[in-house]
Subunit: 235 residues, 2 copies
C-alpha cells in the first residue's frame, strides 16, 4: 500500500470482548461452546439473508438465533432473558489493547473509522460506554448501506468508500473475522486480521495483508510502515 | 400449491446422516460439539465466498475449515487425517427414513431430484453407495450453476428451473437446513423443512410451507395433498 491507509475497524470482538456473553450462555445452555455456536449461526444467517436480498437488523437476528438455539436445547426463553442478552450485547467491554492501540494510531496520524453489523445506535452506545468513541471520526453501520445487508456483502464496504470519497485500495479493514476480511479484500480493500480467541485465518478465499496477535502488534507494524514524517500519504 | 410439486432434495444431512462424522471429530478434537461447529463454519464460509463472487468446491472448503478448526485447537492435521475425513464425507450412510420415503413418493407419482453443495461426482458416489440413486431422475450440483456458488445463492435454484423448464412455484425444496429453505423461498420455490437433529426453524426470513419431523411425515402430507388419481398436476 503506497499511501497511508485509512483504518476501518470492525467493532464486535475486534474492539469489544465477546467473551462477556459467555456467562449468559453458560447459565442458559450449560455449555461454554454455546456462545461460539450462537455467534457462528448469527453470522451464517446474516449471510443467508444478504445472499437472498433480505435484511433483518443484526440485534433482532441475534435474538432469533438465540431462540432457535434454545429450541434445539429444548428450552424456551422468556422476555427477561432476551432483554438480558440484548443488554449484554450493548455493554460489551473493550479488549485490553483497544483504547491504547487506537490512541497510539491516532497520535501517529491515522484516520480511524468503524464499520459494524450493528446499528448506529447500538454501536454508539457500545463505544461511548467503553470510552472508545472519541478515537473515531465517524461510525459506519451496515444498516446505512443500500440496500442494507450484513458484511461481507459488497455494498457495506462501498458505502464507506463513497462517504469518504476514497478508493478501496486507500482503506484497510481491521477485523478478527475471516469472513469480514474476505469481504474487504473482495471489495479491493487492504485488510488486517487480529487473531482474537476463537478466530483464525482460512486457506480459502482472499487472504489478509497483515495477521497480528493483537492491536498493539498491528499498530507497531502500521506505525513502522507509515511514519508520521512521511507526507506521501493523505494527511 | 395448485399443481403437484416436483421435489428437489438437499442431500447432506437431509438424506444422509452427518452424525457419521461425529466419531472423527470426537477423536480429533475431543469434543462432540466439534462436528456441528465444523459444519456451521463450512456453511458460513461457503456463503462468504458466494456473497463476494468467489467459489471454492465444497469438499475443498470443508477441509480448509477443518484445518482452521485444528489451528484453533492447537492441532495440526496430517494428510492421512484429511483423507480419512474426505472418505467419511463421501460415505455418509442414509437416514433410516430416506429410502422408504423416497420410494413411496416415487410410487405416488412424484418426480424426485437432488440439489446439493457437493460436486456431482461426490453426490453420485454418496447416493449410489446408499442405494438412493435410483429414486432420482437427475442429480443437480451447485457447481453447475453459473457462476458456481453454494446455496442459498439464487443461481443455484435457477439452474434447476431452467434445466427442467419449470417455474419456481412448481418446485419444492426438501431440506433440513433453514439457510437452504430461505434460499428456495427467496427464489419463489415451495419449501419443506425436515427437523433433523441439530436443526430448527428461525423466526427471521421466509418460512417453509411444511415443517416435518422426518421424511415419512412429509410423504404423508404430500401424498394426502396430491393424490395419485388427481390429474391436475404435471403427471
Amino acid at each position: 500500500m503506497a499511501t497511508r491507509p485509512v483504518l476501518v475497524f470492525d467493532v464486535n470482538e475486534t474492539l469489544l470482548d465477546l467473551e462477556h456473553l459467555s456467562p449468559f450462555f453458560r447459565s442458559t445452555f450449560g455449555r461454554d461452546a454455546a456462545m461460539r455456536e450462537w455467534f457462528a449461526q448469527t453470522i451464517l444467517y446474516s449471510q443467508s439473508l444478504a445472499l437472498t436480498g433480505q435484511f433483518t437488523p443484526f440485534g433482532e437476528l441475534g435474538v432469533a438465533v438465540l431462540d432457535m438455539q434454545a429450541t434445539l436445547a429444548n428450552l424456551t426463553l422468556n422476555d427477561e432473558q432476551r432483554q438480558q442478552f440484548t443488554t449484554l450485547m450493548r455493554t460489551l467491554p473493550p479488549h485490553a489493547d483497544a483504547l491504547a492501540a487506537l490512541q497510539r494510531l491516532q497520535q501517529h496520524g491515522f484516520r480511524l473509522f468503524t464499520l459494524t453489523n450493528n446499528s448506529t445506535d447500538a454501536q454508539t452506545a457500545q463505544l461511548e460506554k467503553t470510552g472508545l468513541r472519541a478515537c473515531f471520526e465517524r461510525l459506519f453501520s451496515i444498516e446505512d448501506a443500500v440496500p442494507p445487508a450484513c458484511k461481507p456483502a459488497e455494498q457495506t464496504y462501498r458505502q464507506v468508500e463513497q462517504a469518504l470519497t476514497l478508493q478501496g485500495a486507500e482503506l484497510c479493514l481491521v477485523a478478527c473475522h475471516t469472513w469480514d476480511i474476505i469481504g474487504a479484500r473482495a471489495a479491493g480493500w487492504h485488510a488486517a486480521m487480529i487473531l482474537r480467541q476463537g478466530n483464525a485465518t482460512l486457506a480459502a478465499g482472499p487472504q489478509p495483508h497483515y495477521v497480528c496477535e493483537d492491536l498493539h502488534a498491528l499498530s507497531d507494524k502500521l506505525i513502522a510502515a507509515y511514519p508520521l514524517n512521511d507526507f506521501s500519504g493523505r494527511l
